[in-house]
Protein backbone atom coordinates (compact mmCIF):
# COMPACT_ATOMS: atom_id res chain seq x y z
CA UNK A 1 0.00 0.00 0.00
CA UNK A 2 1.35 3.41 -0.92
CA UNK A 3 1.78 5.97 1.86
CA UNK A 4 1.45 9.67 1.28
CA UNK A 5 4.60 11.73 1.95
CA UNK A 6 4.89 13.31 4.45
CA UNK A 7 2.54 11.64 6.91
CA UNK A 8 2.34 9.62 10.11
CA UNK A 9 1.75 6.45 8.10
CA UNK A 10 4.79 7.17 5.91
CA UNK A 11 7.26 7.69 8.75
CA UNK A 12 5.92 4.55 10.47
CA UNK A 13 6.41 2.59 7.23
CA UNK A 14 10.00 3.88 7.07
CA UNK A 15 10.49 2.83 10.68
CA UNK A 16 9.35 -0.70 9.77
CA UNK A 17 11.72 -0.79 6.76
CA UNK A 18 14.64 0.24 8.95
CA UNK A 19 13.84 -2.45 11.48
CA UNK A 20 13.76 -5.04 8.69
CA UNK A 21 17.06 -3.95 7.17
CA UNK A 22 20.16 -5.86 8.17
CA UNK A 23 22.34 -3.43 6.20
CA UNK A 24 20.92 -0.49 8.17
CA UNK A 25 21.26 -2.35 11.49
CA UNK A 26 24.93 -2.93 10.70
CA UNK A 27 25.74 0.52 9.41
CA UNK A 28 24.02 2.27 12.32
CA UNK A 29 24.94 -0.12 15.09
CA UNK A 30 26.72 2.61 17.06
CA UNK A 31 24.23 5.37 16.31
CA UNK A 32 22.32 7.04 19.13
CA UNK A 33 20.19 10.05 18.33
CA UNK A 34 16.66 11.14 17.55
CA UNK A 35 15.43 13.50 14.84
CA UNK A 36 12.80 15.94 13.82
CA UNK A 37 12.47 15.94 10.05
CA UNK A 38 10.72 19.15 9.02
CA UNK A 39 9.12 19.30 5.61
CA UNK A 40 8.64 23.00 4.99
CA UNK A 41 5.37 24.47 3.77
CA UNK A 42 5.18 25.07 0.05
CA UNK A 43 4.07 23.12 -3.00
CA UNK A 44 1.33 20.76 -1.87
CA UNK A 45 1.92 21.54 1.81
CA UNK A 46 0.00 24.38 3.42
CA UNK A 47 2.02 24.24 6.61
CA UNK A 48 5.21 22.67 7.90
CA UNK A 49 5.02 18.95 8.64
CA UNK A 50 7.10 17.61 11.54
CA UNK A 51 8.10 13.96 11.66
CA UNK A 52 9.78 12.46 14.70
CA UNK A 53 12.10 9.46 14.57
CA UNK A 54 14.10 7.87 17.35
CA UNK A 55 17.10 5.92 16.02
CA UNK A 56 19.04 3.79 18.45
CA UNK A 57 21.78 1.25 17.72
CA UNK A 58 20.60 0.19 14.30
CA UNK A 59 16.91 0.19 15.15
CA UNK A 60 14.05 2.64 14.93
CA UNK A 61 12.49 2.72 18.38
CA UNK A 62 9.64 5.08 17.58
CA UNK A 63 8.34 7.25 14.74
CA UNK A 64 5.31 9.47 14.29
CA UNK A 65 4.04 12.75 12.92
CA UNK A 66 4.22 15.49 15.51
CA UNK A 67 1.39 17.92 16.07
CA UNK A 68 3.07 19.92 18.81
CA UNK A 69 6.76 20.57 17.96
CA UNK A 70 7.41 21.47 21.59
CA UNK A 71 6.49 17.96 22.69
CA UNK A 72 9.98 16.58 21.98
CA UNK A 73 13.46 18.06 21.95
CA UNK A 74 15.40 15.72 19.68
CA UNK A 75 19.17 15.83 19.27
CA UNK A 76 18.89 16.66 15.56
CA UNK A 77 16.51 18.79 13.55
CA UNK A 78 16.75 18.48 9.80
CA UNK A 79 14.65 20.64 7.51
CA UNK A 80 14.21 21.16 3.80
CA UNK A 81 11.61 22.08 1.23
CA UNK A 82 9.07 19.50 0.10
CA UNK A 83 10.77 19.24 -3.31
CA UNK A 84 14.20 18.56 -1.81
CA UNK A 85 12.83 15.98 0.65
CA UNK A 86 11.12 14.30 -2.27
CA UNK A 87 14.48 14.00 -4.03
CA UNK A 88 16.06 12.54 -0.89
CA UNK A 89 13.26 9.99 -0.47
CA UNK A 90 13.55 8.97 -4.11
CA UNK A 91 17.32 8.53 -3.71
CA UNK A 92 18.04 11.36 -6.14
CA UNK A 93 19.71 13.71 -3.64
CA UNK A 94 22.48 12.28 -1.46
CA UNK A 95 21.67 13.74 1.98
CA UNK A 96 25.35 14.39 2.73
CA UNK A 97 25.64 16.35 -0.52
CA UNK A 98 22.35 18.02 0.38
CA UNK A 99 23.85 19.16 3.68
CA UNK A 100 27.09 20.41 2.11
CA UNK A 101 25.16 22.37 -0.51
CA UNK A 102 22.85 23.74 2.23
CA UNK A 103 19.70 22.39 0.59
CA UNK A 104 19.15 20.36 3.72
CA UNK A 105 19.58 22.27 6.96
CA UNK A 106 20.67 20.47 10.08
CA UNK A 107 20.76 21.56 13.70
CA UNK A 108 22.72 19.32 16.04
CA UNK A 109 26.19 17.86 16.29
CA UNK A 110 27.47 17.87 12.70
CA UNK A 111 30.48 15.73 13.48
CA UNK A 112 28.31 12.93 14.71
CA UNK A 113 26.50 12.99 11.37
CA UNK A 114 29.74 13.24 9.42
CA UNK A 115 30.97 10.05 11.05
CA UNK A 116 27.84 8.12 10.12
CA UNK A 117 27.65 8.44 6.34
CA UNK A 118 27.10 4.73 5.84
CA UNK A 119 24.10 4.82 8.17
CA UNK A 120 22.73 7.80 6.24
CA UNK A 121 23.17 5.90 3.00
CA UNK A 122 21.31 2.84 4.30
CA UNK A 123 18.58 5.04 5.74
CA UNK A 124 18.01 6.50 2.29
CA UNK A 125 18.03 3.00 0.81
CA UNK A 126 15.16 2.18 3.19
CA UNK A 127 13.31 5.38 2.19
CA UNK A 128 13.39 4.29 -1.44
CA UNK A 129 11.80 0.96 -0.43
CA UNK A 130 8.78 2.60 1.17
CA UNK A 131 5.99 2.66 -1.36
CA UNK A 132 5.39 6.38 -1.50
CA UNK A 133 2.75 8.62 -2.99
CA UNK A 134 3.77 12.25 -3.53
CA UNK A 135 0.86 14.70 -3.64
CA UNK A 136 1.19 16.97 -6.65
Amino acid sequence: MAHRFPSDAWIKALCAELNASEAYANAAKNWEGDFYFIVEAGGPLEKDVWLYMDLWHGKCREAFEVTDPASKSPEFVMSASYEDWKKVVLGELDPIKGLISRRLKLKGNMNKIMRAPQAAKELVACCTKVETEFPA
Binding site: N30, I96, M114, R115, A120, K121
Partner: protein, 387 residues
Protein backbone atom coordinates in the same frame (compact mmCIF):
# COMPACT_ATOMS: atom_id res chain seq x y z
CA UNK B 1 23.93 21.06 -8.11
CA UNK B 2 27.53 20.75 -7.07
CA UNK B 3 30.68 22.85 -6.94
CA UNK B 4 34.18 23.14 -8.30
CA UNK B 5 36.55 24.95 -5.97
CA UNK B 6 40.14 25.87 -6.65
CA UNK B 7 42.64 28.42 -5.40
CA UNK B 8 44.36 30.78 -7.78
CA UNK B 9 47.23 28.44 -8.75
CA UNK B 10 50.67 29.82 -9.58
CA UNK B 11 52.88 27.00 -10.86
CA UNK B 12 56.18 26.22 -12.52
CA UNK B 13 59.74 27.43 -12.14
CA UNK B 14 60.00 30.64 -10.06
CA UNK B 15 56.31 30.60 -9.14
CA UNK B 16 57.38 31.70 -5.65
CA UNK B 17 58.21 35.14 -7.03
CA UNK B 18 54.51 35.89 -6.79
CA UNK B 19 55.07 36.31 -3.04
CA UNK B 20 56.70 39.66 -3.81
CA UNK B 21 53.39 40.96 -5.10
CA UNK B 22 51.30 40.04 -2.07
CA UNK B 23 49.53 43.03 -0.58
CA UNK B 24 49.05 43.12 3.16
CA UNK B 25 50.53 43.95 6.54
CA UNK B 26 51.47 40.81 8.41
CA UNK B 27 52.11 37.24 7.25
CA UNK B 28 52.17 34.23 9.57
CA UNK B 29 54.10 31.22 8.26
CA UNK B 30 53.01 27.78 9.48
CA UNK B 31 55.78 25.27 8.97
CA UNK B 32 58.14 22.74 10.57
CA UNK B 33 61.80 22.57 11.65
CA UNK B 34 62.89 20.86 8.41
CA UNK B 35 61.65 23.81 6.36
CA UNK B 36 63.67 26.14 8.55
CA UNK B 37 66.77 23.96 8.17
CA UNK B 38 66.42 23.72 4.38
CA UNK B 39 66.28 27.50 4.11
CA UNK B 40 62.75 27.47 2.68
CA UNK B 41 61.40 29.62 5.50
CA UNK B 42 64.05 32.29 4.86
CA UNK B 43 63.33 32.12 1.14
CA UNK B 44 59.64 32.77 1.71
CA UNK B 45 60.19 35.30 4.48
CA UNK B 46 62.60 37.35 2.35
CA UNK B 47 60.12 37.61 -0.50
CA UNK B 48 57.23 38.53 1.78
CA UNK B 49 59.35 41.17 3.49
CA UNK B 50 60.30 42.64 0.14
CA UNK B 51 56.57 43.01 -0.45
CA UNK B 52 56.47 45.09 2.74
CA UNK B 53 54.96 42.53 5.08
CA UNK B 54 55.98 41.84 8.64
CA UNK B 55 56.55 38.09 9.08
CA UNK B 56 56.13 35.69 12.03
CA UNK B 57 56.90 31.97 11.95
CA UNK B 58 55.34 29.02 13.76
CA UNK B 59 57.66 26.11 13.00
CA UNK B 60 56.42 23.42 15.37
CA UNK B 61 54.18 21.34 13.13
CA UNK B 62 54.91 17.63 13.51
CA UNK B 63 54.26 15.05 10.77
CA UNK B 64 50.56 13.95 10.90
CA UNK B 65 49.74 16.97 13.10
CA UNK B 66 47.67 16.70 16.25
CA UNK B 67 44.63 18.65 17.39
CA UNK B 68 46.78 20.16 20.15
CA UNK B 69 49.31 21.57 17.67
CA UNK B 70 46.51 23.23 15.75
CA UNK B 71 45.24 24.88 18.93
CA UNK B 72 48.70 26.18 19.86
CA UNK B 73 49.29 27.63 16.40
CA UNK B 74 45.95 29.41 16.45
CA UNK B 75 46.85 31.05 19.76
CA UNK B 76 50.12 32.34 18.31
CA UNK B 77 48.20 33.66 15.31
CA UNK B 78 45.78 35.55 17.52
CA UNK B 79 48.70 37.27 19.24
CA UNK B 80 50.27 38.34 15.91
CA UNK B 81 47.04 39.24 14.05
CA UNK B 82 48.18 38.41 10.50
CA UNK B 83 46.18 39.22 7.39
CA UNK B 84 47.94 36.44 5.46
CA UNK B 85 48.51 32.86 6.59
CA UNK B 86 51.22 31.01 4.68
CA UNK B 87 51.29 27.21 4.94
CA UNK B 88 54.77 26.01 3.93
CA UNK B 89 55.69 22.33 3.92
CA UNK B 90 54.22 18.92 3.25
CA UNK B 91 50.57 18.06 3.78
CA UNK B 92 51.10 18.16 7.53
CA UNK B 93 52.04 21.87 7.57
CA UNK B 94 49.36 22.80 5.05
CA UNK B 95 46.62 20.98 6.97
CA UNK B 96 47.81 22.54 10.21
CA UNK B 97 47.76 25.99 8.59
CA UNK B 98 44.15 25.52 7.45
CA UNK B 99 42.99 24.37 10.89
CA UNK B 100 44.84 27.18 12.69
CA UNK B 101 43.42 29.74 10.28
CA UNK B 102 39.86 28.60 10.95
CA UNK B 103 40.39 28.84 14.71
CA UNK B 104 42.07 32.23 14.34
CA UNK B 105 39.05 33.52 12.46
CA UNK B 106 36.65 31.69 14.73
CA UNK B 107 37.97 31.33 18.29
CA UNK B 108 34.73 29.57 19.23
CA UNK B 109 35.50 26.61 16.94
CA UNK B 110 37.38 23.53 18.18
CA UNK B 111 39.59 21.78 15.60
CA UNK B 112 37.85 18.40 15.82
CA UNK B 113 34.53 20.04 14.93
CA UNK B 114 35.54 21.57 11.57
CA UNK B 115 32.98 20.21 9.11
CA UNK B 116 31.67 20.91 5.62
CA UNK B 117 28.06 21.58 6.73
CA UNK B 118 28.59 24.66 8.89
CA UNK B 119 29.30 28.15 7.55
CA UNK B 120 32.35 29.78 9.12
CA UNK B 121 32.54 33.15 7.35
CA UNK B 122 36.31 32.93 6.97
CA UNK B 123 38.43 35.69 5.42
CA UNK B 124 37.26 38.37 7.84
CA UNK B 125 40.79 38.54 9.25
CA UNK B 126 43.13 36.79 6.84
CA UNK B 127 43.58 34.84 3.64
CA UNK B 128 45.57 31.70 2.97
CA UNK B 129 48.58 30.93 0.77
CA UNK B 130 49.74 27.32 0.49
CA UNK B 131 53.22 26.28 -0.66
CA UNK B 132 53.71 22.49 -0.92
CA UNK B 133 57.19 21.05 -0.48
CA UNK B 134 56.15 17.46 -1.22
CA UNK B 135 54.46 16.25 -4.41
CA UNK B 136 51.71 14.25 -2.81
CA UNK B 137 48.81 15.33 -0.67
CA UNK B 138 47.37 18.07 -2.87
CA UNK B 139 46.42 19.80 0.38
CA UNK B 140 47.49 23.10 -1.22
CA UNK B 141 44.24 23.00 -3.23
CA UNK B 142 41.91 20.76 -1.23
CA UNK B 143 39.27 21.54 1.39
CA UNK B 144 40.35 18.58 3.49
CA UNK B 145 42.21 18.78 6.79
CA UNK B 146 43.58 15.62 8.36
CA UNK B 147 44.42 15.92 12.05
CA UNK B 148 45.33 13.19 14.49
CA UNK B 149 43.50 12.65 17.73
CA UNK B 150 46.45 11.34 19.69
CA UNK B 151 44.31 10.23 22.63
CA UNK B 152 42.12 8.01 20.46
CA UNK B 153 44.87 7.07 17.96
CA UNK B 154 42.52 8.08 15.20
CA UNK B 155 42.91 10.24 12.11
CA UNK B 156 40.13 12.75 11.75
CA UNK B 157 39.01 13.70 8.26
CA UNK B 158 37.84 17.28 8.71
CA UNK B 159 37.45 20.31 6.47
CA UNK B 160 35.18 22.83 4.84
CA UNK B 161 35.03 24.25 1.33
CA UNK B 162 35.73 27.65 2.84
CA UNK B 163 39.28 26.63 3.76
CA UNK B 164 40.41 26.04 0.18
CA UNK B 165 43.45 28.33 -0.11
CA UNK B 166 43.29 31.68 -1.90
CA UNK B 167 46.63 31.16 -3.62
CA UNK B 168 48.55 27.91 -4.13
CA UNK B 169 52.20 28.27 -5.16
CA UNK B 170 53.35 25.08 -6.89
CA UNK B 171 57.02 25.73 -7.47
CA UNK B 172 59.39 22.78 -8.17
CA UNK B 173 62.13 24.70 -6.35
CA UNK B 174 60.70 23.34 -3.09
CA UNK B 175 60.88 19.68 -4.12
CA UNK B 176 64.21 19.51 -5.91
CA UNK B 177 65.95 18.10 -2.85
CA UNK B 178 63.19 15.82 -1.63
CA UNK B 179 64.73 12.54 -0.41
CA UNK B 180 63.94 9.50 -2.58
CA UNK B 181 61.83 7.74 0.06
CA UNK B 182 59.68 10.85 0.59
CA UNK B 183 59.36 11.25 -3.18
CA UNK B 184 58.08 7.68 -3.48
CA UNK B 185 55.70 7.80 -0.51
CA UNK B 186 54.14 11.12 -1.42
CA UNK B 187 54.00 10.19 -5.11
CA UNK B 188 51.97 7.11 -4.19
CA UNK B 189 49.61 9.37 -2.24
CA UNK B 190 49.08 11.50 -5.34
CA UNK B 191 48.49 8.42 -7.50
CA UNK B 192 45.95 7.13 -5.00
CA UNK B 193 44.15 10.49 -5.02
CA UNK B 194 43.94 10.44 -8.80
CA UNK B 195 42.62 6.86 -8.94
CA UNK B 196 40.15 7.38 -6.13
CA UNK B 197 38.92 10.70 -7.53
CA UNK B 198 38.01 8.84 -10.70
CA UNK B 199 36.33 5.79 -9.17
CA UNK B 200 34.50 7.14 -6.12
CA UNK B 201 30.73 7.50 -6.31
CA UNK B 202 30.87 11.32 -6.27
CA UNK B 203 32.99 11.50 -9.44
CA UNK B 204 31.83 14.11 -11.93
CA UNK B 205 32.57 15.72 -15.30
CA UNK B 206 34.75 18.40 -13.75
CA UNK B 207 37.03 16.05 -11.80
CA UNK B 208 37.33 13.17 -14.28
CA UNK B 209 39.77 14.74 -16.74
CA UNK B 210 42.02 16.00 -13.96
CA UNK B 211 42.16 12.53 -12.44
CA UNK B 212 43.09 10.82 -15.72
CA UNK B 213 45.81 13.31 -16.57
CA UNK B 214 47.31 13.07 -13.08
CA UNK B 215 47.43 9.26 -13.31
CA UNK B 216 49.25 9.45 -16.63
CA UNK B 217 51.76 12.03 -15.39
CA UNK B 218 52.54 10.03 -12.27
CA UNK B 219 53.13 6.74 -14.10
CA UNK B 220 55.47 8.61 -16.45
CA UNK B 221 57.41 10.84 -14.07
CA UNK B 222 57.40 9.27 -10.60
CA UNK B 223 60.03 6.61 -11.41
CA UNK B 224 62.24 9.28 -12.95
CA UNK B 225 61.89 11.67 -10.01
CA UNK B 226 62.61 8.77 -7.65
CA UNK B 227 65.71 7.53 -9.48
CA UNK B 228 67.20 10.94 -10.13
CA UNK B 229 66.06 13.74 -7.88
CA UNK B 230 67.91 16.24 -10.06
CA UNK B 231 65.69 15.43 -13.05
CA UNK B 232 63.86 18.77 -12.89
CA UNK B 233 61.51 17.92 -15.75
CA UNK B 234 60.25 14.92 -13.78
CA UNK B 235 60.14 16.93 -10.54
CA UNK B 236 58.06 19.67 -12.11
CA UNK B 237 55.56 17.30 -13.72
CA UNK B 238 55.22 15.34 -10.47
CA UNK B 239 54.64 18.56 -8.55
CA UNK B 240 51.92 19.58 -10.99
CA UNK B 241 50.42 16.07 -10.98
CA UNK B 242 50.02 16.07 -7.21
CA UNK B 243 48.18 19.39 -7.31
CA UNK B 244 46.01 18.24 -10.21
CA UNK B 245 45.17 15.03 -8.35
CA UNK B 246 44.31 17.15 -5.30
CA UNK B 247 41.94 19.25 -7.38
CA UNK B 248 40.33 16.07 -8.69
CA UNK B 249 39.69 14.47 -5.31
CA UNK B 250 38.81 17.70 -3.55
CA UNK B 251 36.04 18.23 -6.08
CA UNK B 252 34.82 14.63 -5.95
CA UNK B 253 36.08 12.47 -3.07
CA UNK B 254 38.29 9.58 -2.01
CA UNK B 255 37.64 5.87 -1.62
CA UNK B 256 38.66 2.68 0.14
CA UNK B 257 42.48 2.85 -0.07
CA UNK B 258 42.24 6.00 2.04
CA UNK B 259 39.97 4.35 4.64
CA UNK B 260 42.33 1.40 4.97
CA UNK B 261 45.44 3.58 4.85
CA UNK B 262 44.18 6.06 7.46
CA UNK B 263 43.43 3.19 9.81
CA UNK B 264 46.80 1.47 9.34
CA UNK B 265 48.65 4.78 9.49
CA UNK B 266 47.02 5.85 12.74
CA UNK B 267 47.62 2.55 14.55
CA UNK B 268 51.10 1.72 13.27
CA UNK B 269 52.47 5.21 12.53
CA UNK B 270 53.08 4.61 8.84
CA UNK B 271 53.52 7.77 6.68
CA UNK B 272 50.27 8.65 4.92
CA UNK B 273 51.36 8.06 1.32
CA UNK B 274 53.07 4.76 2.07
CA UNK B 275 49.97 3.51 3.88
CA UNK B 276 47.31 4.52 1.35
CA UNK B 277 49.47 3.60 -1.65
CA UNK B 278 50.03 0.13 -0.28
CA UNK B 279 46.30 -0.55 -0.42
CA UNK B 280 45.71 0.89 -3.90
CA UNK B 281 46.25 -2.32 -5.91
CA UNK B 282 44.24 -4.39 -3.42
CA UNK B 283 41.30 -1.99 -3.53
CA UNK B 284 41.35 -1.92 -7.33
CA UNK B 285 41.09 -5.71 -7.39
CA UNK B 286 38.39 -5.69 -4.71
CA UNK B 287 36.31 -2.97 -6.39
CA UNK B 288 36.40 -4.47 -9.88
CA UNK B 289 33.33 -6.73 -9.49
CA UNK B 290 31.16 -3.71 -8.59
CA UNK B 291 31.33 -2.67 -12.23
CA UNK B 292 30.96 0.89 -10.95
CA UNK B 293 34.59 1.97 -10.81
CA UNK B 294 35.09 2.70 -14.53
CA UNK B 295 38.51 1.03 -14.58
CA UNK B 296 38.13 0.39 -18.30
CA UNK B 297 38.20 4.16 -18.94
CA UNK B 298 41.44 4.53 -17.03
CA UNK B 299 43.06 1.52 -18.67
CA UNK B 300 42.04 2.71 -22.13
CA UNK B 301 43.51 6.14 -21.44
CA UNK B 302 46.80 4.50 -20.45
CA UNK B 303 46.80 2.10 -23.39
CA UNK B 304 46.32 -0.97 -21.18
CA UNK B 305 43.94 -3.90 -21.87
CA UNK B 306 40.41 -2.57 -21.37
CA UNK B 307 37.96 -5.10 -22.83
CA UNK B 308 35.86 -5.17 -19.66
CA UNK B 309 36.03 -3.95 -16.07
CA UNK B 310 37.67 -7.09 -14.68
CA UNK B 311 40.38 -7.18 -17.32
CA UNK B 312 41.03 -3.48 -16.95
CA UNK B 313 41.15 -3.63 -13.16
CA UNK B 314 43.70 -6.46 -13.14
CA UNK B 315 45.80 -4.69 -15.76
CA UNK B 316 45.73 -1.55 -13.63
CA UNK B 317 46.59 -3.29 -10.37
CA UNK B 318 49.51 -5.00 -12.14
CA UNK B 319 50.62 -1.61 -13.51
CA UNK B 320 50.47 -0.06 -10.04
CA UNK B 321 52.45 -2.98 -8.58
CA UNK B 322 55.05 -2.54 -11.31
CA UNK B 323 55.39 1.15 -10.46
CA UNK B 324 55.71 0.31 -6.77
CA UNK B 325 58.42 -2.18 -7.63
CA UNK B 326 60.29 0.47 -9.64
CA UNK B 327 60.27 2.85 -6.70
CA UNK B 328 61.07 0.19 -4.07
CA UNK B 329 57.74 0.68 -2.29
CA UNK B 330 56.59 -1.94 0.25
CA UNK B 331 53.73 -3.95 -1.25
CA UNK B 332 52.40 -5.72 1.83
CA UNK B 333 51.83 -4.86 5.47
CA UNK B 334 54.42 -7.49 6.39
CA UNK B 335 56.95 -5.68 4.19
CA UNK B 336 56.41 -2.57 6.32
CA UNK B 337 58.11 -4.48 9.10
CA UNK B 338 54.98 -5.07 11.18
CA UNK B 339 55.14 -8.36 13.09
CA UNK B 340 52.26 -10.78 12.54
CA UNK B 341 51.42 -10.93 16.23
CA UNK B 342 51.19 -7.13 16.46
CA UNK B 343 49.04 -7.04 13.36
CA UNK B 344 46.69 -9.75 14.63
CA UNK B 345 46.37 -8.00 17.98
CA UNK B 346 45.24 -4.80 16.23
CA UNK B 347 43.03 -6.33 13.54
CA UNK B 348 39.75 -5.48 15.27
CA UNK B 349 40.91 -1.92 15.87
CA UNK B 350 42.02 -1.64 12.24
CA UNK B 351 38.60 -2.76 11.04
CA UNK B 352 36.79 -0.42 13.46
CA UNK B 353 38.64 2.62 12.16
CA UNK B 354 38.38 1.71 8.48
CA UNK B 355 34.68 0.96 8.78
CA UNK B 356 33.87 4.35 10.30
CA UNK B 357 36.27 6.32 8.06
CA UNK B 358 34.44 8.97 6.09
CA UNK B 359 36.01 7.78 2.79
CA UNK B 360 34.43 4.34 2.95
CA UNK B 361 30.93 5.26 1.94
CA UNK B 362 31.87 6.70 -1.46
CA UNK B 363 33.87 3.65 -2.53
CA UNK B 364 32.53 1.85 -5.59
CA UNK B 365 32.23 -1.34 -3.52
CA UNK B 366 31.73 -1.05 0.24
CA UNK B 367 33.04 -3.93 2.38
CA UNK B 368 31.20 -5.31 5.39
CA UNK B 369 33.14 -6.03 8.59
CA UNK B 370 34.21 -9.48 7.51
CA UNK B 371 35.47 -8.20 4.17
CA UNK B 372 37.37 -5.36 5.84
CA UNK B 373 39.19 -7.91 7.98
CA UNK B 374 39.99 -10.02 4.92
CA UNK B 375 41.26 -6.98 3.01
CA UNK B 376 43.68 -6.26 5.84
CA UNK B 377 44.80 -9.90 6.06
CA UNK B 378 45.33 -10.20 2.29
CA UNK B 379 47.27 -6.94 2.32
CA UNK B 380 49.33 -8.25 5.21
CA UNK B 381 50.21 -11.39 3.30
CA UNK B 382 50.53 -9.70 -0.08
CA UNK B 383 47.87 -11.87 -1.71
CA UNK B 384 45.81 -10.71 -4.69
CA UNK B 385 42.15 -10.25 -3.82
CA UNK B 386 39.92 -13.20 -4.78
CA UNK B 387 36.63 -12.30 -3.08
Amino acid sequence: MWYFDSPHIVYGEDARCVLETVEGRRAFIVTDPTMVRLGFVDEVRRRLESAGLEVAVFSEVEPEPSLQTAVRGAEAMRAFEPDWIVGLGGGSCLDAAKAMWIMYERPDVTPDSINPFDTYHLRQKARLITIPTTSGTGSEVTWAIVLTDTAEQRKLGLGTRECVADIAIVDPYFVQGMPARLTADTGMDALTHAFEAYVNTWHNDFSDGLALQAIKLIFTYLPRAYRDGKDMEAREHMHNAATIAGLACSNSLFALAHSLGHSLGALFHIPHGRAVGLFLPYTIEYSAPSGAARYADIARFLGLPADDEETAAWALSARVRQLMHEIDQPQSIAALGIARADFDAQLEALVDRAESDSQTVTSPRVPDRGEFARLFVYAYEGRPIDF
